[in-house]
Assembly symmetry: C2
Homo-oligomer: 205 residues x 2
């Protein structure tokens, strides 16, 4: 998070800096963001930047914290309206996000942010229709015991595999980041699988 010095800045100066930051984050993906370019555009000396932020990451955190606030606010609204319908919430959440992101300046930022996640992980090659998920599914598909699950058609089977992949990836990531919590996270993983299994497995006749 930015230092207090940053928040004490005269409005005008802070806005100019913020605008420069957003422009730069919209221009290129995160790892190509240049602090040099930011300070130049904002017309502040290089040293000042480091008075406000410790580093590029710090800036990103700040930008995202705003975004998170917006999302949460919207979520509360939706839940109130629907009387607590989770699925309704997540349906609206996507609309909201896309609407939010389609603002001129925000759009480039989002694109670069997400491009970054994906490219860095490189688990998701870019060719549409040829994602790693789809490739993996095509490999596994013929091996799946089709009779076992209460799924309607090939499509739903794909969706289930996709869900499982997401959970798997998230778990692995979590464990690497918090090795000390590995066993808790592992347990949660097993529980999640069990939960899905309970609902998706066809009753034996």
């Amino acid at each position: 998070m930015p230092t207090s010095t940053f928040f004490n800045l005269p409005q005008e100066k802070r806005n100019k800096l913020l605008s420069a930051i957003k422009d730069e984050f919209s221009r290129v993906p995160f790892d190509e963001v240049s602090i040099n370019k930011i300070v130049h555009a904002a017309g502040i000396p290089r040293g000042s930047f480091y008075q406000y932020f410790t580093d590029k990451n710090d800036v990103l955190c700040y930008l995202l914290s705003d975004f998170r606030q917006e999302i949460l606010g919207m979520a509360r609204e939706s839940m109130k309206k629907s009387g607590g319908d989770l699925f309704q919430l997540f349906s609206e959440l996507l609309d909201f996000t896309l609407a939010f992101a389609s603002q001129e300046q925000v759009n480039g930022f989002c694109r670069n942010l997400f491009a970054d996640i994906r490219v860095n992980s490189s688990l998701y090659p870019k060719q549409p229709g040829k994602t790693a998920q789809e490739a993996a599914f095509r490999e596994l598909s013929p091996l799946i015991d089709r009779g076992a699950y209460a799924l309607q058609g090939e499509d739903e089977c794909f969706l289930l595999v996709k869900i499982l992949l997401l959970i798997y990836l998230d778990t692995v990531t979590n464990i690497f980041l918090n090795p000390q919590n590995a066993s808790v996270i592992r347990t949660q993983y097993d529980q999640t699988l069990a939960l899905l299994k309970r609902f998706m497995t066809k009753e034996k006749e």
Copy 2:
């Protein structure tokens, strides 16, 4: 992917380079990886590196393609043994991944890789027990209509929200990367929500 020149390299030289690459990718997260350090450690001139790889990303792709192969191989095995049990597969998958990653050199690499994804996204602050997921859940939890879902206890409710969040995030990412496919991806999202809803919603009495 590396150029053919790279694969034509004499074994010894290629191995030395590969080893240097793995060391460097184990040392620091992706965006701090230094091609300079790699070529120095491998004892090859700087220009040569660019003869083989176009760039850092290229190297990562190559490293990950190996990894993906291993995973896929294991998956086929598991499916054969279990007769196509998806949940069994994903349970074993995590074990396999963690075992694979606990090899000395691989471990650092994995840690850095995943750290990168997370830190860059910054949606996942580091404090254990205080992930964005958990924070979001605590916010939403009281608003959820507890009677609506066939879930057992608070824990399962949390797991469901977590799953929904993963799917949401994945969808948003996908749309930003393939805006031209937005509507297809959107449809898939809706289908996934519907699928989960069908199973998780309690029958009305």
